[in-house]
Amino acid sequence: MTRFFKRLLSLAAGFACLLMLAVAPASAQTLDMVRERGFLICAATNALPGFAQQDSQGRWSGFDVDLCRGIAAAIFGDPEKIEFRALRGETRFASLQTGMVDVLTRNGPWTERRDTLYGAAYVGTAFFDGQAFLVPQSLGAVSAFELDDVSVCVIDGGEELERIQEFFFANQASYTEVPYEDVSDLAVAYQAGLCQAVSASGRQLQAIRRALPDPSAHRILPERISKELLGPVVREGDPQWFNIVRWTLFTLINAEEVGITQANVDSLLAARTPAVRRILGVEGDFGTPLGLAPSFMANVLRAVGNYGEMYDRHFGPQTGAALLRGQNALWTNGGQLYAPPVR
């Protein structure tokens, strides 16, 4: 029998070696940092109505801010544990890299250079944007393709001008350009009737429309003649943090797809559909691998609702922006929003 025990012992030793391999740490710098600090620092490029704006009490609101709240809810279960900043210029990447900021919720549009050169990583698209047209209802146009013989206010010098040229050339339509140096000038010029239409990115047009005395008298046409992707950006080299932000965003989209809203999130805990159960953390555990609570997705949705709700809250008809979902609709509704499944 002693021979047997010796054998057993040596086997156990060999096996222990194998098991030792199963225990290895994972790095999680940003998350730890945020946890230690107790709140999340988000930043957007600049304050822009609908995306990020401060009310009279200094409280930030907007789409970007909600996205940030969502991330905070994912981490802390509490959407208020954030600090929001509006940063200008290229310093935002420096701030991100130095750790002054944890996530940029709206950076400039996603481009190759930004993605590859700044030590930053785009996690995904939160907002599909592009150059669009704002016209008065009175013009009677419901589509950009109906525009003909119009004067268009546009920023000078950028690609916007070229795009308009291409667009109208391609449509065999005629137009008059009214170029300006600055975005704020466009609004003033349009309001003053110096042009019949404004062409700028959708996010700028919705800001212009809000500021108009009677927003409902104006319409942002659904077509986009360029493409711009806006989305959260994180530092390179921290996959965990990258994934936290990415999957917070995807949670919002997936929740809309399966019909989870801020209102029904708790009642759906008893749902039977596996896809819903997984998002709400009733089945499976998708949070722990990210260093989060298993129910983090439910927390996100409790805090800010799903993507559709967020969008309606900030760009819906009642906001004065009245920005159609367009590309930002779910893929099932003809839009571009698509998130990989939670499973």
Binding site: C17, L18, A26, Q240
Partner: protein
């Protein structure tokens, strides 16, 4: 090949390095050091790799929902089950197929091993061909063959091959009726258990009495005689019933069969017992042969098969008859029939008395598949079959070697003492052969269990497939899953060696 002789050559005494003890220690320290360094290197690499890939590790995943389906499981399984349940399902599926494979392979292997030693040329050659063919072809290939080539030849679900007793064979596997016992049937099961215990106790008592006093207890002998007649009657009744149904379909066949069976049973207690046995064996052999030959050569006309079967059955009857003539009187025989009657009859009595019912859930063809019943998927059947066929060829060789290892002199000595064939085998040959057979047999059992892991290749959800395959894949925990899988096999192996050590210690011959 020289040793590491690096010590100073001019040293007057035994050089430090040439001291065998010290040199041994140095060797060992070096080896241990190398080993530790190697392990550290691997652990370090792994940790670095895992960290670089930000992979999560640990066994927490075992308590998460698996989310996949397992096609065949003895334990309750749903997609909401946890990974540890998947682990258990894998183990039970492995054990199930291993157990069935072991039982069948043992039976087949012993038969073939003994057949190989047969003095009959055809029988021994057939066994040799079987062994030499099967064990020289990789098991994996055989499994593929049984699964893919044979599966293709199986009928589709709707054209299922229907066998008697609601058994169906098709591409979806083997569908059997599943017994669904009711409440009262528990009593039958309990009685059955008790009857088995009683039968064993009775056997032990009878044998002990036989040893101590030289004869079986009188009561037992009497009861044995009665039981003999009883069993003879039952067998005769069934056989005759079938025979009558096959030959002349007459209306009151049961009555006639019963009468004839009573006659045979009555004969079996007189001195014409041998005749009764001969007749009975003729009927049974004829029935089996006629069915088998008719099935094998469907193109032959009926009367040819009947004639051939009758002729062969006649010879068999003759063999049985002369064997029966030489049977010792019932006083000197172990009352096997009595034990059988107790084990079967008592529960049957209880079944009848308690009015229990044993319904069978019959597999029924539905829109796609059979539903209900006991369904054995073809993966399981192919794996169990492949393992059985393959392992049996090794077991057969083990058995042959074991029997051959018993010196011929042992048989002669036993013969010269007047021991009869049965006693000779039971008391002298088998105990010695088993001593030689059991250790390699056990390692064949272990091999079979390990080989069941090849079920992964044909989709049988055993441990490697379920856990090191699907679960590993859905979770990505490679190290954990493989470690657990290997641990299970390790435990099987250790358990086997514990049992073997115990057995070897028990049976090892005491030598000078």
């Amino acid at each position: 090949m020289t040793t590491l002789d690096t010590g100073p050559a001019a040293a007057p005494r035994v050089s430090f390095f040439n001291d065998p003890v010290i040199r041994g220690i140095i060797y060992q320290v070096v080896v241990a050091g190398l080993l530790i360094a190697f392990i550290a290197w691997i652990v370090g690499n792994t940790a670095a790799n895992l960290a670089a890939q930000n992979k999560t590790t640990g066994f927490d995943f075992l308590w998460k929902t698996a989310g996949f389906d397992i096609s065949f499981s003895l334990l309750p399984w749903s997609r909401a089950s946890f990974y540890w349940e998947a682990f258990l399902v894998g183990i039970t599926n492995t054990l199930l197929v291993a157990f069935i494979g072991i039982v069948l392979a043992t039976m087949l292997g012993f038969t073939i091993g003994i057949a190989r030693l047969s003095s009959n040329f055809i029988v021994s050659r057939l066994a040799t061909v079987y062994i030499e063919t099967i064990r020289n072809i990789p098991l994996l290939l055989q499994l593929f063959f049984w699964y893919f080539a044979v599966l293709k030849a199986m009928p589709a679900v709707r054209e299922s091959l229907a066998l008697p007793f609601d058994i169906f064979i098709n591409q979806r596997g083997l569908m059997l009726p599943r017994p669904t016992p009711d409440q009262e049937f528990t009593w039958v099961m309990v009685t059955f258990g008790l009857a088995v215990i009683v039968a064993i106790a009775l056997s032990v008592w009878a044998l002990r009495t036989r040893t101590l006093t030289g004869r079986y207890p009188r009561q037992i002998v009497l009861a044995g005689k009665a039981a003999d007649a009883c069993i003879t009657f039952l067998i005769a009744f069934v056989a005759l019933l079938v025979l009558l149904a096959v030959i002349f379909p007459i209306s009151n066949a049961p009555m006639l069969a019963a009468i004839l069976a009573v006659v045979i049973a009555a004969l079996s207690v007189t001195r014409f017992a041998a005749l009764a046995r001969g007749v009975l064996s003729f009927v049974i052999a004829f029935l089996i042969l006629d069915t088998a030959i008719g099935g094998m050569f469907s193109s032959l006309p009926g009367f040819v098969t009947t004639a051939v079967s009758a002729a062969v059955a006649l010879v068999i009857a003759r063999v049985v008859y002369s064997g029966a003539l030489e049977r010792p009187p019932s006083e000197a025989r172990f009352p096997l029939a009595l034990m059988a009657l107790i084990v079967i009859g008592v529960p049957a009595l209880v079944y009848w008395l308690t009015d229990a019912t044993l319904a069978f859930e019959v597999p029924v063809l539905e829109r796609f598949n059979f539903r209900g019943g006991l369904q054995l998927p073809p993966e399981f059947v192919a794996l169990a079959f492949g393992l059985t066929v393959y392992t049996a060829s090794f077991i057969a060789e083990t058995v042959r070697a074991g029997i051959q290892a018993v010196n011929k002199g042992q048989t002669e000595a036993a013969q010269s003492l007047g021991l009869k064939e049965g006693d000779r085998l039971r008391l002298v040959i088998v105990p010695q052969a088993m001593r030689v057979i059991v250790p390699p047999l056990t390692s064949q059992y272990l091999n079979l269990t390990k080989n069941s892991s090849l079920g992964a290749a044909i989709g049988y959800p055993e441990l490697v497939n379920v856990f090191a395959g699907t679960a590993l894949n859905q979770t990505g925990r490679a190290i954990e899953c493989i470690a657990l899988t290997m641990l299970v096999y390790l435990i099987f192996s250790l358990l086997t060696s514990v049992i073997m050590n115990w057995y070897n210690a028990r049976v090892s011959l005491v030598e000078r």
